[in-house]
Subunit: 341 residues, 2 copies
């Protein structure tokens, strides 16, 4: 049996064991606040994302290790979408009291795994520097704040896409949302394992985001958290442009194609509207396209062109696999879809 | 009726209206991450605290404005305890769907009020720069991350108290915990209003913390969130020292004295073990004591000496009002008092 302060000491000890000394960390876990140094000419990036039981994860089919991994990965993805390098993170835990010490250790091991696996280099994982724990009278909640850095001149935002830019996306689309469907239906059909895995342990594209920013390739970038249709609209809204996507060019895994066929559904619905993919969507001006295609050819990055940025007056369009063009409606995840009073 | 993205736009609009342009904010709400600049020679302070319904606040007796105010204040208090200047904050909201848009506006107005009222100067409130919102299937949750700055050489930690230092505390002790008791018992006895007010809207000692750090007066500092007995032990544990407090010297409000008398309880129990006071506890070497006493005399700071740091071998002691000396047991708030498996 351990109490709050023992728990904090345990987290602190594990954090210190896992992370080598970083001269930029003046003060880690154990004081009122963490203290770090930021180097000159760099913008400090800060993002925060909260994972709530039943909303973002279900203990019925997620392990504590997977929840920890995903919690950090979704935050890493936001830094990736700015072209930044993740540096430090803080964790707020709301614990129900049903968790064992073993569960909480696994949660932090999952975060540590994501930090190492998804970092820019093995030498520089991002470090746990603080947080807090409290009793939750409702479900388990994990709120992570992630600090990162990016040279001011390399930062990529959502608001700078220009008509004529090509729209690219990393990895494949739709796997995570098909995976969630599979988990919810409690289907464990052989051969589809990659789909739930992508939902449970999404890999933030930190290296890809940093590489693109360093090479100054994208005009605008966002990570796919709400779903392609919603997230593309964030870019077009904030940049004041239109866009057209072509379904036939979407990168779709063979597994998703087989799954959709088995279920009698359409793979492009998962690809267009499925949330939590954590791939990067980025816009590339014509003049940078050759450099990007060379990186793709040399397998430095896995990305594919799926459309083009248009002048605002065209709106946001999709060419379906039947060749028909229709208006893109955002059907990605909206937490308050039913509206608020 | 508004959806998630309308809600975010509303929060963004209000944040921009409330905060003048700050050249250190390269990118505020609306992208994947906020981007700020930190000046050279300063340590970047980062703290995060989560407020959960039923654990930290009760909608039965807290307004949304008060919850917002308190949520920011408890984070400001952590930066105050390091001697820092609060700069930016990010808010993660878990909403149940029962909140109206008016409620959420009030929540952010409460945070904005705390930011202005408790800042170092009226000219430099700390700014809302990001966050996220999600549906909570349990209670309302608010997680704030606060960034601050402090010149490296002025940062005050918990781990540097030395035997011979005098222990000081700002303001009064025990009011907030008596106030919570009063609210829980639904007693609205006239004349005690200051007590629940301190529980509902604690004022972080940001100006005091900064003044003390700038004048390099304290050897160690902490804010009283768990309660005097628990928080003093954080200082003695981390500094490797002992301590002795004298109950007779505690700063106690007349209201608390009257309340304790009415209830047939002891005011020193509230003072020693009551949580959420958000006063500063700090240790002062003999050589700095005159300078501090002058500041107190000129009303630049409201603080009082309540004890002394001793060598570790003495342990942590309290002289009761009866003159007896006993060992201090931590009875402040521990979220996992019943222990974990």
């Amino acid at each position: 049996m351990i109490g709050e302060f023992d728990l904090i000491r345990r987290i602190q000890k594990n954090a210190n064991l896992l992370c080598p000394n970083d001269p930029a960390v003046l003060l880690g876990i154990g004081d009122d606040s963490a203290a770090t140094l930021s180097s000159r000419g760099n913008a400090l990036l800060t993002t925060t994302d909260m994972l709530l039981e039943k909303t973002h994860f279900d203990l019925a089919f997620s392990s504590f290790f997977q929840i920890g991994y995903k919690a950090l990965s979704v935050n890493l993805s936001d830094i990736a979408a700015m072209g930044g390098t993740p540096r430090f993170y803080l964790v707020s835990l709301g614990l129900t009291g049903k968790e064992s010490v073993r569960d909480i250790d696994a949660l932090y091991r999952g975060m540590n795994e994501a930090s190492h696996e998804l970092s820019i280099s093995l030498q520089s994982p991002c470090h746990l520097i603080g947080g807090n724990t409290a009793r939750s009278h409702a479900g388990l909640s994990i709120s992570i704040t992630l600090l990162g850095e990016v040279p001011k001149k390399e930062m990529v935002t959502r608001s700078t896409a220009t008509p004529g830019d090509f729209i690219y996306v990393t990895g494949t689309l739709g796997d995570a949302s098909a995976g969630l469907e599979l988990l919810k239906k409690n289907l464990r059909k052989g051969g589809f394992r990659a789909l739930p895995h992508k939902h449970l342990m999404p890999k933030a594209r930190v290296q890809e985001g940093r590489l693109l920013a360093k090479k100054k390739i994208p005009s605008a970038m966002i990570d796919l958290s709400d779903g392609l249709s919603s997230d593309l609209l964030h870019i077009t809204d904030q940049s004041g442009v239109g866009a057209q996507l072509a379904c036939a060019t979407f990168p779709i895994s063979e597994t998703l194609k087989r799954y959709a066929k088995t279920m009698g559904t359409n793979w492009y619905d998962y690809a267009l509207h499925g949330g939590e993919e954590y791939e990067l969507l980025f816009c590339v001006p014509e003049k940078n396209r050759d450099r990007l295609e060379k990186l793709i050819h040399h397998k430095a990055i896995d990305a594919r062109c799926i459309g083009k940025i248009l002048p605002k007056k065209h709106g946001v369009l999709v060419t379906g696999i039947d060749g028909d063009v229709y208006k893109l409606k955002p059907s990605g995840y909206d937490h308050f879809r039913q509206g608020m009073i």
